[in-house]
């Protein structure tokens, strides 16, 4: 059987217990934009949705198919994104996420995935903004 390396940090465990910011925003809502990252066959698929009003993130929600580190990464990325402008949210780094969650090196791809999903949602939102502006 494949081996699962490393113990999980208290941060990862408590995030997976609480599942802060898990949920769905209505994709039909013009303020809502969606980003996804990962692949189902690869065992990890994340979705992050943002509700953006006047350039600021009002709400961020995730859904995750993946290990606890990727669930925790998506949850934390959403938490950090809320209240930020699109530009500010863009500067959320993979390294900051993994440091806050104390991810071991072999789990860094989980926080990278969360960042990728967040960036997908940010660019989708910018795209909408450009089109409507």
């Amino acid at each position: 059987m494949p081996v699962i390396f490393g113990e999980l940090s208290a941060q990862v465990l408590s995030r997976c217990a609480a599942l802060h910011r898990a949920g769905t925003l209505d994709p039909v809502d013009p303020e809502v934009s969606t980003g996804v990252a990962g692949s189902v066959a690869g065992g990890e698929f994340l979705r992050i949705q943002l509700r953006v009003r006047r350039g600021r993130i009002q709400e961020a929600r995730f859904k995750a198919f993946g290990c606890s580190s990727s669930i925790a990464s998506a949850s934390l990325a959403c938490e950090w994104a809320e209240g930020k402008t699109l530009q500010e949210a863009e500067s959320i780094q993979e390294a900051e996420l993994s440091a806050a969650l104390e991810l071991p090196p072999e789990k860094r791809h989980c926080s990278a995935l969360a960042k990728a999903a967040l960036h997908g949602a940010l660019s989708a939102s910018q795209g909408k903004h450009l089109r409507s502006g």
Binding site: M1, I4, V40, C67
Partner: protein
Amino acid sequence: MKKPRIYMDHHSTTPMDPAVLQTMLPYFTEEFGNAASRSHAYGWRAEEAVEKARESLAGLIHARPKELVFTSGATESDNLALFGAVANLSERGRHIVTCMTEHPAVLDCCRRLEKSGYEVTYLPVDSTGRLSPEDVRAVLRNDTILISLMAANNEVGTLHSLSEVGKIAKEAGVLFHCDGSQAVGKVPMDVEAMGIDLLAFTAHKIYGPKGVGALYVRKRNPRVRLAPILFGGGHEGGMRSGTLNVPGIVGFGEACEIAGRVMPEESARLSSLRDRLHRRILSELKEVRLNGHPEFRLPHNLNLSFAYVEGESLMMAMEDVAVSSGSACTSATQEPSHVLKAMGVSDAMAHTSLRFGLGRFNTLEEVDYVAGRVVESVKRLREISPLYEMAREQRQGAHAGHLR
């Protein structure tokens, strides 16, 4: 991390039976002799204990005591069987037949042998994990020297038709090695009836100590000759040098005695608990799939895929229960279980698999508790799974389309 309250991972290892521990204890202290010491009673008594254990092992697999070689575990036994057997047969041929779902202890030996000029055929299995004996017959060649097939798979518990493969091997005059790690002591194993020439097994899977195993090496019809892989004092008839692990061997012997005695009752009890666990899960959850053979399966094995929920996150959601998963999230390039892949399970479904291995000390209350934890955790994780949401929307869309 919180210590799991319930252990249900008995394919990985088992706790020692307290009765086994009791028989071992004197051999760490008063009876510490070297079984190879011929000049005093310390040695004689150690040797006597080792020979008694050898009889217990032999009894469990219908062999003769002299046909057993003690090793450090099934990994070493598999290595000794494969490297030891082919070394003496390379003039006859260099072709080996094995199966895609074998344990790495066999597969990695085969890959190594391929590097030194042997040719290995890795036979496929069907969707239940079973190999067809006719496939074995079909790939045999004049230069085939060895067939290596496990008795029971460590992930999905599927049992192969050993007697049929043994018969095919006999007819062709090819040696038959069997990795019995998961089967010996759990289901009846008989090297005579099954035509097995080499059989690897290990104490820690049957409530014995870790770090001690054995290899059965047939002495008659045919007499199997092995080249050693460890050199030194010539212990175990020259096949495995090194001072014997007397306490471990004593514990292994006792574990075999107990296993032989309780097997019918224990396998009936565990398979009924296992079926109860399965039923309870199915009664509350949809889209749960059994990995393995519904019938030809170890009595204590239950391997399930829970669609839309990744295995590691599920294990962590019920961290007070110790089980295993076929998923592995360790790098950007993830390869789920090679066993499930060989059975044709998609990568996506393999990532959602969980293996339950019930054991001697699990109770009905524990089974019911675990069933409850699984149901609750899967429901919770499906609620946050984007795949579950997509599937639900698709179903609703299809339904709406149908109405229109």
